[in-house]
Subunit: 253 residues, 2 copies
């Protein structure tokens, strides 16, 4: 059950642009990294989408997301090759021109000699008009932020550097507190009813149950999330009480 949003909740979506994720060639790591990062700074991630390297699809997705969430974080498609079309897609989505940006050229020249700055590499300096640049301490070619859309590289090491660079400019909300209670081998089906009662009694606490199957059988975890520490502690106490009661009464199966 998702946590209810408050008026001051800062929300986000992640838009992953990349055929290589959809073909299965690459296991995306950026979504999970950004999810953990945003949780740590008090931004609630409410959606992730993966779309192919097709301009119409990117434009449609960024348009759907930027009107719904405080921020949209995109990854992928800002390199120098013909399949890097994110900057143009963002320009189209936001209705602004995409031009070679002298600030971005200056950044590229920190790493390249002037004679190495060919047309393909100049593509990495094409930035929608009005965007703020996001520094890239790894390989210099910048990301950018335009409106509430934060455009980052797909390579995890570069994306992570850009996220560090842009994070201080973002508004953040109250951090969600998390507590995990191990239910061990007690079957979900035995504690479901008691857990539902606790969840109903604690509407400000989001409670989820996560079974893991392994060669040793099922091991369950109950994860509680809340913005209020006292409510979180009370709900976790109730969950521990429920599990203790069930543990002392194993014969029921």
């Amino acid at each position: 059950m998702a946590l209810s949003l408050q008026a001051d909740t800062v929300t986000a979506a992640v838009l992953i642009i990349g055929d290589e994720i959809l073909s299965g060639r690459t296991q995306d790591q950026n979504g999970n990294y950004i999810a953990r990062y945003l949780a740590a700074v008090g931004i609630e991630l409410l959606e992730i989408r993966v779309v192919p390297d097709i301009e119409d699809e990117i434009v449609a997705a960024v348009d759907a997301l930027r009107h719904r969430y405080t921020y949209v974080f995109t990854t992928g498609g800002i390199g120098s090759t013909h399949d890097d079309i994110t900057a143009d897609a963002m320009g189209r989505a936001l209705g602004v021109e995409v031009l070679e940006d002298p600030r971005a050229i200056a950044m590229l020249l920190e790493r390249l000699r002037p004679d190495q700055l060919n047309d393909a590499r100049r593509r990495m300096a094409r930035i929608p008009k009005g965007a703020e640049l996001i520094e890239n301490s790894v390989s210099k070619a910048p990301g950018f932020m335009i409106g509430n859309v934060i455009v980052m590289a797909g390579i995890p090491m570069v994306m992570q550097a850009m996220l560090d660079a842009v994070a201080p400019r973002l508004k953040c909300g109250a951090r969600v507190l998390v507590e995990t209670v191990a239910a061990g081998a007690i079957p979900e089906g035995r504690y479901s009813e008691g857990l539902a009662a606790i969840a109903a009694a604690e509407p400000e606490v989001s409670i989820g149950s996560y079974p893991q199957f392994s060669s040793e059988g099922v091991r369950n975890e109950i994860v509680l999330r809340a913005r209020d520490a006292a409510r979180l502690a009370a709900a976790a106490h109730s969950v521990r009480g429920l599990l203790a009661e069930l543990s002392s009464d194993r014969a029921l199966g």
Copy 2:
């Protein structure tokens, strides 16, 4: 650049239902597994979405996706706890009742004694009317297929068993052939222009360039995808020729 679709292309989206992915607690594995599986059977995966455990969000996403793609594969939210709301969401999205299904009860009783079948466990037998069940060889509680929507568990081992069970019932298309050419340490910015020319000359071949940063520096790979083996081979030959030419001319940087 994504592969152009043909009239007989079978397409799909994956809808991942789960707060635990959006909070960053869990790194999703199902999206990548399904992506590789679908590629192997000739179904083109065109979108992945991750949404929270909120009924309205699930209904909106499945509605958007089921009208666009041949199939929608969902994962998550079909267990016995209060946060498992996928069956109800699917019933609402498809406008059918969700009822306890005697076939699903029979499956649960393969693993549980009748006295263990409490109300919470009976929830796992609630299936939208008209759905076909999908067998679960791991833990018995079934998934289901209703219309073009395939509803599976979130636990990877269970999801994988369900995918094996449902795959023979799906229509499949021509498998996409893939060839990877290692570009090694040749910088992307040096081959971008040549690669764009090859991509333009081979419109039936999708060509992507994927840099990897590591402690040893950048290593690039060029991935070619096509349905036609001859066109794929021709394009890969051109790419190898381009790289060989650049390798013999390293001084330009």
